[in-house]
């Protein structure tokens, strides 16, 4: 980020570090001005070293544009229509969400410098609610990865421990929130890409029900799995962000026409009588003991709050990763066909005419993991293999979804599991592709089933954040947030992310 002369007021910096509701209230009352919030955000980015040579959180930032939007908001103050629920709140967007005025690269060379001529529905909703977009965050190329090491623009580092990865693929967004640059960021999920980095960075990460949030403008990876999600400092912040971006969109045929509840009303709902399922498949014998221990503590907290913890089983869980790594690459191989050098993005000419242009553009534009997955996806869809792989995977996916339906039908309100099998690992530590895929072992099933799930910080292992996952039935976000609010309050003081340098 460019160094800028104007330093934000200490008041704005304090608001940036505090709850969203406070910031929005101050701006509505005129006690704070949006432009100062933008300055505070950029100052904080400088302070924590968000730049390319350190944390490398952003692929692009737009201080001028953000300041301009902030000034327009100020001009709107006092007019008839009230400012929205995110008035003056600086927000960061994962770089696979189409945004006007800033590049949308998906962490890929093939879209280097590409500026979308239209805007994603979620971004329109954010702006309509007064949010100010400060930058586009780093990510694994086309969201394929679990560490943000697969970005064409270099890896992002974890603000908690700079030697470690922030998780992925929404690593930049998780790091931006963890480092206190923004209170709220959007990420995207296909197999855990919001929850896993949230867990690694010690923030809250939410993946909504498939169809709850519009995908229009989210660059597709695995269309039947993709959802936009939010990363926030607290459950409340995340619930506010989630509410703003949720709702049916006529531009997305897969978005659901289901009313959006007021999630933050769950804040004080209490957990008495809630039945929490503890699926045994998510607590295998080999689970990292530090993670197992923190999860048990969380479950104890639930019991103390008056909830019942029940042992349950989701028998097809172990097939999630194989199913996921067939379906997601298959869909990706088709979704990424549009990056052909014809209408936008990178074009590499070759002596071999049009076909040469296709092949060279895509060879140079895609990194090794994207290439690997496109080839894998093409293979599993190709003649002779479709039934054995793609069709089989869809059938097993149906069984995985049925597991969730069965367990929720049995009287369980939400499930509680670890978010990840390990805490954040060091950069370069995981070299084998499949070993990296196993980072999604506890998260991919929710994407396959389409159910909502979120990660909440529940503790730490020698300073490394650990997340607990809450999974709810389809369109059961309210009960999911209720369980999350309760857990957050019960565990308050045990681990506050970013506190060490806030």
């Amino acid at each position: 980020m460019k160094a800028q002369p104007a330093r934000a007021s200490a008041a704005a910096a304090k608001l940036l570090a505090g709850p969203l509701t406070e910031c929005v209230a101050c701006i509505r009352e005129g006690a704070a001005i949006p432009a100062d919030m933008v300055s505070a955000s950029f100052d904080r980015a400088d302070e924590v070293g968000a730049g390319k040579d350190a944390l490398n959180i952003f692929i692009s930032t737009d201080r001028e544009g953000a300041t301009e939007s902030a000034k327009q908001l100020t001009a709107h103050l006092g007019r008839a229509e009230p400012l929205g629920n995110l008035a003056g709140v600086p927000v960061a967007l994962k770089d696979n969400i189409a945004t006007l005025g800033m590049p949308t690269t998906c962490g890929s060379r093939i879209l280097e410098g590409y500026v979308s001529p239209y805007e994603a529905t979620v971004v329109r909703r954010l702006r309509a609610n007064g949010a100010v977009i400060v930058g586009k965050t780093n990510m694994d190329e086309f969201a394929m990865g679990s560490s943000t090491e697969n970005s064409a623009y270099g890896p992002t580092r974890n603000p908690v421990d700079i030697r470690r990865v922030p998780g992925g693929s929404s690593g930049g967004s998780a790091a931006a929130v963890a480092a206190g640059i923004v209170r709220l960021a959007l990420g995207s999920e296909t197999g855990g890409s919001v929850r896993q980095p949230a867990s690694f960075c010690g923030v809250v990460g939410v993946k909504p029900t498939y169809g709850r949030v519009s995908r229009y403008g989210l660059v597709a990876f695995g269309s039947s799995l993709d959802q936009v999600g939010v990363l926030g400092r607290t459950v409340e912040d995340a619930s506010i962000g989630m509410e703003v971006i949720s709702g049916c969109d006529p531009l997305d045929s897969t978005s659901a026409d289901v009313p959006v509840p007021r999630y933050e009303l769950e804040k004080n709902a209490g957990l008495k009588g809630l039945v929490i399922g503890k699926p045994r498949e998510y607590f295998p014998d080999g689970l990292d003991p530090r993670i197992a221990q923190e999860c048990e503590r969380a479950l104890d907290a639930y019991r103390e709050l008056g909830a019942t913890v029940r042992d349950v089983s989701l028998p097809h869980t172990s097939y999630s990763i194989p199913v996921y790594y067939i379906i997601a690459p298959a869909e990706a191989s088709s979704n990424l066909a549009r990056f052909d050098g014809v209408r936008y993005g990178l074009r590499v000419l070759s002596e071999r005419g049009l076909n040469g242009m296709y092949e060279e553009t895509r060879a140079r534009g895609f990194g090794p993991e994207v290439t690997r997955r496109v080839l894998l996806g093409t293979y599993v869809l190709s003649a002779g293999y479709y039934d054995a792989y793609y069709k089989k995977a869809q059938a097993v996916r149906t069984l995985i979804a049925q597991d969730f339906r069965d367990v929720f039908a049995s009287g369980v309100d939400v499930l509680f599991t670890p978010t990840t099998p390990t805490p954040a690992f060091e950069l370069g530590a995981v070299k084998d592709a499949y070993e990296m895929y196993l980072s999604d072992i506890f998260t991919a099933s929710a994407n396959l089933a389409g159910v909502p799930a979120m990660s909440v910080p529940i503790g730490d292992a020698a300073g490394l954040p650990i997340g607990g996952q809450i999974i709810a039935p389809h369109f059961g976000e309210s009960v999911m947030f209720r369980a999350a609010f309760g857990l957050e309050r019960a565990l308050a003081g045990n681990f506050v992310p970013g506190e060490q340098d806030a």
Binding site: P117, G211, P250, L251, I326, V342, Y344, L376, T378, A395
Partner: protein, 104 residues
Amino acid sequence: MAVTREDVVKVAKLANIAIDETRLDSLALELNAILGHMDELRKVDTARVQTAEGLGSGGQRLRADYGPPDGLASAPATFAPETRDGFVLVPRLATHEGSPERAP
């Protein structure tokens, strides 16, 4: 069903990605390693499974037959790699190499 070097060549052709000769064998190995884990799925009995097409039932929502479409902030000529007279240009297909040209 092991992935061969020839399979990688075929699939790369379908996906239109140029693969360096020297990468073919290692890619075949990598794909085999990944697909090896996928073979787990054969253990699952799915004979009676009715695959749901797409998530969320209730069918597809349709739109009315009128515009305008979602707009473009700038015309294709501003983001396409090469354009002329509003057309997007690409190298001519090999199959049309012999096509006559109109006077420019």
